[in-house]
Amino acid sequence: MSASFVKTKRKTWWKDYALWFILPAFALYSVFVIWPTLSSINLSFTSWDGINPDIRYIGFENFKEMWNSPRVHNALINTIYLAIALVLLENIVALALAVLVDKVRWFRNLFRSIFYFPVLMSGIIMGFIWMIILNYNFGVVNQLLDAIGLGNLKTDWLGNPDFALLSIILSTVWKAAGYYMIIYLAGLQGIPQELMEAASIDGAGRWKQFRHITFPLLAGATTVCVMLSMIGSLKMFDQIAVMTNGGPGFATETLTYIIYRVAFGEGRQGFGTALALVLFILILLISLVQIKVLRKREVQM
């Protein structure tokens, strides 16, 4: 009798509290993330300029324009180039840093902190520092080239369309590699030492150990790092804003950057929203494919 009373009382009480606990987060998230995301579908079929209260629907015009616009194609190519280069370089550098930190005998924590610190910097600050380092007249890079007698290699790194995107990529590797290093390091430290010892007794050299034991066992960390660095590179914005503003010409204009420029610089918010939707679909597709492909080569322990 009394037991069943407690039970029913408890049930209505549970119902109440979970609802009220979740409600504030639910409301804010729905109003400030989901609602604008859904209304972007609506807005992408308009020619809205951002100011005019009279919003005109133009059907698929924005998407047609995107399909035919050389500027959008250029941005897409830049984005793909940037994403592939960043994923490869960031992961190679991060893995190398992780191996160094894992194997070095002295000051291990200090080295880890040094490699990690750039991750904590804002893209604006990091971009400014590198802009000065790469400056044509007074930058450290060109001064060094002069000092070692390679002055003829000097160039305006950010002003030359051939090198601008490459300069942004390399400085971003400097900024981001430390983040992935932490993930690889956690993976490395999870590999049992006995495995290495057994391999070395069997006569496997350092490279063979790395190639056949360490690397396959890091597949889980690699999956995570490749995905995160791919999405990070697709969303990259701050460095481009401060270092080149998408220039020279359109040499460093990526999808994220063209969205911003078109919507807030040129007052074409309808077109900007359509581009943003395409970026979103691209990110969704890439994430799904990567999860599928990379999960296959993970080794279970």
């Binding site: 979740i22 400030f32 400097w174 932490i182 994220t256």
Partner: protein, 279 residues
Amino acid sequence: MRKTKARIRPGDVVLFAVTLIVAILFAFPIYFNIMSAFKTNGEILRDAIAFPSGFYLESFKYLLTKTDYPKAISNSAILTAGSIICMIFIIPMAAYGIERKNSKWTNGVYIYFLFGMMIPFQVYMIPLFKQLKTMGLFGNLAGPILIYIAGSVGFGVLLYTSFLKGIPREIEESAEIDGCSRIGIFWRVVFPLLGPVTASMVVLQGLGIWNDFLMPMLVLPSGEPKTMIVELFFYVGEFSSRWDMIFAGTTMSLVPVLIAFLSLQKYFVKGVSSGAIKG
């Protein structure tokens, strides 16, 4: 741990030397930034690598007395602290409701929240911009704070629910028998146990907000000082010949980050690895 007092092999020295060189390359841009903040503009242009000749503080003085930078510093601080405090009130409670209730509808809400982690800000920024104007939130600090909280719900709920799974319910049940209300149980019994997640949350989200650029630039009123990062971005264009001043500004933005990192290092590292689990 594993190398106990082994003798020093030449391989160790070589490896150390390689690591040291790489570390110098990595640390150089930060060294360059902080040194340049204490140099005159002429010194930066003459020799970028050298130590400053004196302890030149004019660029800091100029920045703090002749520009909008102090207002920008306070805006950055208010945005970061305000958003973090609200997040810590709202998100762990939602995660607790989801994890402990564990019914069909709360699982649905959980998936709905996680979906938000896949949506980049650039996807919804244009409609959001429009929406803030109609809601009357455009041009004050409340708008960005609400946006930051909403944007962190997915990641935060994921972090908190996975941690809550490891906390046994028995503790709560005994508090319940003692007649504690559900909200009392949460704040007095459960929340203190969530300390490590809360620390990671504060550190990672706080850093993200402190360093954020695009959103505050778009939604804070033009013509008034915005946040430190946004002002620095404008200074790069405006004071293109006063590098010393911009370096003083970046140093002021980096120092709190450096202090937080040195004192809370393990939470930064933990946050990265827990964030990585979601893959």
